[in-house]
Symmetry: C2
Subunit: 415 residues, 2 copies
């Protein structure tokens, strides 16, 4: 039996016992895992150093090595993250709704764990701790498959956490890390329907596409955001400037950052030069349509491809549009259904935008950067879903659960 | 452009306009479609006759031809089904929950259509009317791909309905039927992620497996049910007999029918002969384990494969188990997570069974046959999901929706 199949099967067996654990035991395990990360920080850092050395020797870029590198502060942040998860209410066991049928059957829709969650991710070792914490809180067994570059760090983190969890009463086998970092192990993992209940890829667009295209297990697609801010002809100009600059520059490398500015042709002559200047002051490279070039000196012409692109960088493409209709049509054609914003003082346009734009989050007069589990108040986040099934938008603990119908009778049979 | 791509694209374009239609228009369209089915019944029956003739000439089995054949009564049943859907509350636009963040952002989780729903099905023409009705009620565009054997019937039904819907104000293009019945058109349909939002296969296990394994679009898996009834040592014997016989025989060809009887070894000597006799009187062929053979004359030995099999027929396999632990383990190993029942008078065993058995529906002292959208009180059913993502168990109108976060601000930016 391969490592992947053996570990996934162990996780499945553990999941059955996990499902009926009390909140108390899960929370004790989260505290124990946090404490273990702190007390074994030296060992984890030692293992992490091996990964960092290998990446350095391989000539990996600085940003990559930065994402990979752990230190005492980052380890205590990981522990703090687990304690925050512990503090959240336990979603498992909630009766979402219940009713009695005319024949006396009592039907209850109850929240239960998914079972076994598979997480495929790249080089950030903190994902290991985070994913384990979220899964244990929701009574799911977890099978982790991280990138080869972080394998030593991931092994250290997951073994420290698994041992602590086990001592606190979590069934053995609940936490699994695939050590085989060959690409084949990912492919094998994606075929295990019947054993793994859901796959969540966390990483770049290439990883996510591979999983969506090849998995036989239901996938929750996360991540890609080609987000727009539409500045209407009727708007508060200062608010428009602030929102566009914030949405683009506050953290350009993330999925809820804006990539495109759409501006009404009536607002463009006065407002576009101001917005463009502020964006450039913040280091943003501007591209745009010919109409936009009339108001922005030295604007780089945008190619058709630009309108589809998630730059994840200090680049923004600007298009002058003929009102809200063209704005909504453009978003419908080029958007990725992640986060879309309108800046307007007009009640009806605000309302139309929220109704007609098809996206996980639609904003009136606020930055797209708020699409986030913490900003929405969920207290945790496993990713941001850009699909429509099961979960849409920021995913918190509830999105790691499913339901079960519990039906109580006194001998009812169907007539 | 192929027929599949062209029609799916038209559906996608229509979906945007469908999403903001009022309940009134959708309900008027449902009434108009029902009336049109009735007023054009003769034309539909003429087209259906072509399919029936072809199936007869091809030597198709009687049950197949029966499923395919329409008559006035079946057409008025289809119309009645549409009127029942019309009478249900509209789920679209519901605010599921809403809250205000400390920074003043108002966040609302609102129920919206999925967008474009693809339905792949086999030879029952009534699925055409039913699927169109459910999708229009939930403001989804629909792309139908029915079996080649019913193509004339499906074309007649969908064109009558599409014309009536359009006149009532449903955007043109919302209802699409793929006329190309070559297998390739199914394969092409399954690749259209970004255009079709969800695929629901309705049909036999082979069709469902093909879709699950090949689709790049999220799929809602329906159907397979290897359901168990566990008769505990502590139970009301009469209730046990009634539930087992009902679960097996009331309609053996459907997914919520029981396929397996598990009986506690303490109950078996007295109760198993009685149950076996009643089952045989109802025409059930019994198979079983060696222990069960001690109490049932002429019991056919069950092979390992039997424990995995969904017979969909008057066949039942019996296993004598050592209490609830072995029963739960057996269900965990061989079950399909559809519907599972325990018959017991013991409070603690009933509670354990509902907690530890992982299935869409778990029953205490009732027949598994109740896992059904109508029996649960949903008023409609698009299928029974056996997966854990998005929908589990009977799917009603709500399962054809997703959510959108509507976020209203007054200039909030992220710090």
């Amino acid at each position: 039996m391969s490592e992947v199949l053996a570990k996934a099967t162990q996780a499945k067996n553990a999941a059955r016992h996990l499902a009926s654990l009390s909140s108390q035991i899960k929370d004790m395990a989260l505290e124990a895992m946090a404490a273990a990360l702190e007390s074994e920080a030296d060992r984890i850092l030692q293992e992490n150093q091996k990964d960092v050395d290998a990446a350095t020797a391989a000539g990996r870029p600085k940003a990559f090595i930065d994402r990979l590198t752990l230190n005492k502060k980052r380890i205590s942040d990981m522990a703090e993250g687990l304690r925050q998860i512990k503090a959240l209410p336990d979603p498992i066991g909630e009766t979402i709704s219940a009713w009695t049928r005319p024949n006396g059957l009592e039907v209850a829709q109850r929240r239960v764990p998914l079972g076994v969650v598979g997480i495929i991710y790249e080089s950030r070792p903190n994902v290991t701790a985070d994913a384990i914490g979220l899964c244990i809180k929701t009574a799911n067994a977890v099978v982790l498959r991280g990138g080869s570059e972080a394998i030593n760090s991931n092994q250290a983190i997951s073994s420290v956490m698994a041992r602590a969890a086990c001592k606190a009463g979590i069934p053995e086998g609940s936490i699994q890390l695939i050590c085989d970092t060959d690409r084949k192990s990912v492919i094998e993992l994606m075929q295990l329907n019947g054993i793994i209940d859901v796959l969540i890829p966390r990483g770049g667009a290439g990883l996510i596409r591979t999983v969506v295209e090849n998995s036989r297990i239901p996938v929750i697609e996360t991540g890609v955001g080609n987000c727009h801010v539409y500045v209407d002809s009727e708007c508060d100009p200062e608010m428009a400037v602030n929102i566009v600059v914030n949405a683009k520059t506050q953290r350009p490398g993330v999925c809820n950052a804006a990539e495109k500015l759409l501006i009404d042709k009536k607002a463009a002559p006065e407002l576009l030069p101001v917005i463009a200047q502020k964006l450039r002051e913040a280091g943003v490279e501007l591209r745009g349509c010919p109409e936009a070039a009339r108001y922005v000196d030295g604007l780089i012409p945008a190619a058709e491809e630009d309108w589809y692109t998630e730059y994840l960088d200090l680049i923004m493409a600007v298009k002058v549009v003929d009102g809200i209709d063209e704005a909504i049509s453009h978003i419908s054609k080029y958007g990725t259904k992640h986060s879309e914003a309108i800046v307007t003082t007009n009640y009806f346009k605000g309302r139309r935008f929220t109704q007609e734009v098809d996206a996980a989050a639609v904003y009136v007069n606020a930055s797209t950067r708020f699409t986030d589990g913490f900003e929405f108040g969920f207290g945790a986040e496993i990713g941001i879903s850009t699909q429509k099934l099961h979960a849409r938008g920021p995913m918190g603990l509830k999105e790691l659960t499913t339901i079960k119908y519990v039906v109580l009778g006194n001998g009812q049979i169907r007539k």
